[in-house]
């Protein structure tokens, strides 16, 4: 009895997951579709493109028929009785394997040190040194910032470089070279691909963006510049600023953002910020390792321009992260910036 009820509950839960949202999608999509009407391209261009599309459709159908025949010939081999047993055995083996792994992992948890216990091996002399001398040595009130941008600045440089390299990889994979504007087939394909889809003049979105974007940008800048005083820092602040730029792009379209953010801006900002980081940190590592006098002083802890290089390094990391996030989004959307 209990099993039946739980079964019923489970099926209702999955139904709610699948159908409930599906209905909403359909109505939303149909309302979208009513608005999208061929507006910009002229009749001539469309005729040309339609002919082109017919050829593509023929090729596509041929390929599909071929695939279907291959699938059928392969599929008949799997429906025999022996294959059925093999599949059942396979399923059971997979389940046993999963349950075994779960049991093993849960067993391991028991041997972990207790959470928050002062005698844990984490609380060794390294963290002691950070907590006791961190503020004095780096000048940063926020010890986390002092750690990641002073003691372990090399790690952070690597992290920023990883982001930059990831953006480069996305560029290689997704960037689309400049297309000829007049070609009808290309234009239709771009519209179908959602690449050039510009947001409609949505008053709600635009008003919200007008209010929120400056505030979010300001908040992101605050997180970055106060990284050595309060929680936050380059990475989180940069992500917030990137999100603000994406909201602006979604509300007003590519035309507006292209005024201040193009591929050139991305290149210039990322490369400048990363090289500034590398050069300034190389200087402080060089002087530190050779016991030379450094012109960078920790300053008074708690002031905005204190903690030596940390605020500037935070700014560099923030700019790289902001540009990378925005670049990811535009590359996914349009294949360009």
């Amino acid at each position: 009895m209990a099993k039946k009820i739980s079964n019923n509950w489970w099926s209702r839960f999955t139904d709610w997951l699948d159908i409930g949202s599906g209905k909403l999608d359909d109505s939303m999509m149909s309302s979208f579709d009513d608005e999208t009407s061929p507006s910009s391209s002229s009749v001539e261009l469309q005729k040309d493109a339609l002919r082109h599309e017919k050829d593509i459709d023929d090729i596509r159908n041929n390929i599909l028929e071929h695939e279907q025949s291959v699938y059928d010939s392969l599929h008949t081999g799997f429906t025999s009785k022996g294959a059925k047993h093999a599949r059942r055995f396979y399923m059971l083996a997979a389940m046993a394997f999963c349950i075994g792994i779960i049991a093993l992992l849960l067993n391991t948890v028991e041997y972990l040190p207790e959470f928050g216990n002062p005698d844990n091996p984490v609380n060794n002399e390294v963290s002691e040194r950070y907590i006791e001398k961190g503020m004095e040595e780096t000048g940063a009130v926020n010890i986390v910032a002092g750690m990641i941008l002073d003691y372990r600045a090399f790690d952070t440089l690597g992290e920023s470089n990883v982001l930059f390299v990831a953006a480069c990889a996305v560029l290689i994979l997704l960037r689309i070279s400049v297309e000829k504007e007049g070609d009808a087939a290309v234009q239709l394909e771009m519209e179908a691909d959602d690449r050039m889809y510009e947001p409609k003049d949505d008053i709600i979105l635009q008003t919200t963006a007008t209010i929120l974007v400056p505030l979010t940008l300001l908040f992101g800048m605050y997180i970055i510049m106060n990284g050595h005083i309060s929680p936050g820092g380059g990475f989180s602040g940069g992500a917030v600023m990137g999100a603000a730029l994406i909201l602006y792009l979604n509300a007003f379209g590519f035309e507006k953002t292209e005024r201040f953010f193009t591929f050139k801006t991305f290149k210039a900002v990322s490369v400048c910020a990363l090289s500034f980081y590398a050069v300034s940190k190389a200087y402080s590592f060089f002087t530190g390792a050779n016991h030379l006098h450094s012109i960078i002083s920790p300053g008074t802890p708690g002031k905005l321009f204190s903690a030596g290089l940390i605020p500037y390094l935070n700014l560099a990391v923030g700019l790289v992260v902001c540009c990378t996030m925005y670049a990811f989004y535009t590359l996914f959307r349009k294949g360009d910036m």
Binding site: I63, L64, A243
Partner: protein
């Protein structure tokens, strides 16, 4: 405080199971987003506000945005497209 963190942890587990079992990808992304938000509150309760800010900005914001764009690109949330173009699987 203890009660709040227990509620949040249960919420996270439910969200994770929901993401795994939901067949609708859009639902999965939105639930994933809410899981990130709950996670960021847990980071605050564990006294690491640095991580909380990053989790809220990256996990709930940018991550789900990129996933949504990807879904749009592969026509996973476009139901009308499937009807008039049933054979369009290879692009």
């Amino acid at each position: 405080m203890q009660l709040l963190s227990i509620i949040l942890l249960i919420f996270i587990i439910i969200c994770a199971i929901t993401v795994a079992f939901s067949k609708n990808l859009l639902t999965a992304v939105v639930v994933f987003m809410s899981q990130s938000l709950a996670m960021s509150i847990i980071w605050i309760l564990l006294e690491s506000p640095d991580l909380a800010i990053t989790e809220a900005a990256v996990g709930a914001g940018i991550d789900s945005l990129l996933l949504l764009v990807t879904l749009k690109k592969i026509h996973a949330i476009d139901h009308t497209k499937k009807e008039d173009n049933n054979n369009g699987e290879e692009d």
